[in-house]
């Protein structure tokens, strides 16, 4: 028995790789979908806030991520955009990360096409700007000074839905889909605390624990944390079999597998320590 435990403790890392891959591949291959109940999570708070927005409000969605976090944030982007469109809210998209401009365009144009929403009347993608927090402060006093054109260089004056937008106070809500810096922290600091605009957030699971502090203080109205947050929003919006919801089954299995790895590693460690082999 001790020999088996010792062998398990020295498992080649490539075997671990294969097991992790299988734990993800098998549930996807069998199209396993687990029910995703949404409890008193911060994702529900964001959904409720968006749901209460009056028709015709302007919401700024900032796509502050790149492909490295796309599997977590793109389903969020699509679910949030769908919800905003369903509520007949005007979406002004932008990006603090250059690659976010393309990914945001993909999310918005895809949803707009399926719902019959018109570019420049119901939604616009203003594109990317450098400057992070410094640029957000300038947005506070004048959005058109920072974005004289949209992503494809269409002048501000030629975009009808932007006529009533001056500074950040023109927005009923800002949602940052954030993978790091610059991202949600800058939005909370500059747009939320400085200009008093309500802030919502979709973030990677890595940054979610830190951002809970902003929820307790009311600096953020709600948060979608990682793939679970995306799955929650898909559930709340009513997307059947969305990408994030489908991801919850492999996520569950892989979590169990990693927990088993940790338990086996600890059993091997304590067994060796008992024998005096480990310090």
């Amino acid at each position: 028995m001790a020999g088996i435990i010792e062998k398990l403790g020295n498992t080649d890392r490539r075997i671990i790789f294969v097991l992790i891959a299988l734990s993800v591949i098998i549930p996807i291959s069998f199209n396993l979908i687990l029910p995703n109940p949404v409890g008193a999570e911060p994702s529900r708070d964001l959904f409720d806030y968006v749901d209460a927005l009056p028709e015709g409000s302007n919401v700024l969605v900032s796509f502050d991520y790149d492909p490295s976090t796309m599997p977590e944030l793109q389903p969020m982007a699509e679910a949030v955009v769908l919800h905003l469109f369903k509520k007949n809210v005007n979406i002004v998209g932008m990006a603090l990360w250059p690659q976010g401009a393309s990914l945001g365009q993909d999310a918005m144009s895809g949803m707009a096409d399926s719902l019959g929403k018109v570019q420049f009347e119901d939604w616009v993608n203003l594109g990317y700007k450098t400057g992070g927090g410094v640029m957000i402060v300038r947005l506070g006093s004048s959005v058109s000074a920072v974005f004289p054109t949209d992503k494809d260089n269409v002048p501000w004056a030629e975009i009808p839905m932007l006529r009533n937008i001056t500074g950040l106070e023109s927005f009923s809500l800002i949602i940052s889909l954030s993978a790091g810096d610059p991202g949600i922290i800058q939005w909370v600091m500059m747009a939320g605390d400085r200009f008093g605009v309500p802030i919502g957030c979709g973030c990677t699971a890595v940054s979610a624990p830190t951002l809970y502090t902003y929820l307790q203080t009311g600096q953020m109205v709600g948060m979608l944390g990682g793939l679970k947050g995306a799955a929650d929003y898909e559930t709340l919006v009513g997307i059947k079999g969305g990408q994030a919801i489908r991801g919850m089954a492999p996520q569950s299995v892989a979590h169990i597998v990693i927990m088993l790895f940790i338990i086996i590693g600890n059993v091997a460690y304590f067994s060796q320590r008992k024998k005096g082999g480990a310090k």
């Binding site: 490539r14 790789f17 992790i20 891959a21 993800v24 591949i25 996807i28 291959s29 490295s68 976090t69 796309m70 599997p71 977590e72 250059p98 690659q99 401009a101 594109g127 990317y128 700007k129 450098t130 927090g133 410094v134 402060v137 920072v146 974005f147 004289p148 054109t149 992503k151 260089n153 002048p155 922290i185 909370v188 600091m189 500059m190 939320g192 605390d193 400085r194 990677t204 699971a205 890595v206 979610a208 624990p209 830190t210 502090t213 307790q216 203080t217 009311g218 600096q219 944390g225 990682g226 793939l227 679970k228 990408q243 489908r246 991801g247 492999p250 996520q251 892989a254 979590h255 990693i258």
Partner: protein
């Protein structure tokens, strides 16, 4: 040519090239890695030209209604100074641009971090004290004690002995719980990325094979 299928196959090809690293470092991985770096850099440059320099600098310097706004020459020169760093003889000019960037960033961060990450957090902790149920009172106390003891742990100007030491010990305990939560979330994040790629390979790429072979949709 079906551009959609070609795109999926290109995506799958580079995905397999990169995953080959799991076996060991190899030329396929190195090829994809170098391609990724080059294409990403190209993407950044183009977006800077199209979304920043043209609308925010060039079109402001030469407005559509005609004329020349000389004031925009100044940031242009500062941007050039930044690039000067690559030429050793004139590299010191980049300090002027760095001074501007770092100075503006420091000025903004000083007030913003103090307001958002210090004052608002202290206020949030003080006003967290609830009294509507025993459980919420207990939770509020855990929050307040956790924040205070955590701060004591980070206070290195006094030796961690006696009451300070005991409070710091409570602080470490709270921090361990927080770090554990961060670790759990980190595992979730990394797996989510893998799930995304597997969904692409199994749900987008794999169904194209029968289509290419002439059977299936």
């Amino acid at each position: 040519m079906n551009w959609e299928i070609l795109g999926i196959w290109l995506g799958a090809l580079v995905t397999f090239c990169l995953y080959s690293f799991l076996y060991r470092d190899n030329p396929f991985y190195k090829f994809a890695e170098h391609l990724f770096v080059g294409m990403s850099a190209g993407y950044w440059v183009i977006y800077n030209i199209e979304n920043v320099l043209i609308p925010n600098w060039w079109q402001k310097m030469f407005p559509a209604e005609g004329g020349f706004s000389w004031i925009w020459v100044i940031p242009g020169i500062f941007a050039l100074f930044m690039i000067a760093r690559i030429v050793p003889k004139i590299a010191s000019f980049s300090r002027l641009s760095l001074g501007m960037i770092i100075g503006a960033g420091a000025g903004l961060n000083m007030v913003s971090f103090f307001q958002t990450n210090a004052l608002a957090q202290v206020k949030g902790t003080i006003f967290s004290l609830a009294s509507d149920s025993v459980w919420s009172v207990f939770s509020s106390l855990v929050l307040v004690i956790g924040v205070v003891s955590g701060l004591v742990y980070f206070f290195f100007s006094k030796a961690h002995t006696g009451v300070v030491g005991k409070t710091a010990n409570v602080g470490i305990t709270i921090l361990m719980v927080a770090f554990g939560a961060s670790f759990g979330y980190t595992i979730m994040a990394r797996l989510s990325l893998l799930i995304g790629r597997c969904q692409f390979l199994l749900e987008d790429w794999l169904p194209t094979i029968p289509r290419l072979l002439g059977f299936g949709g």
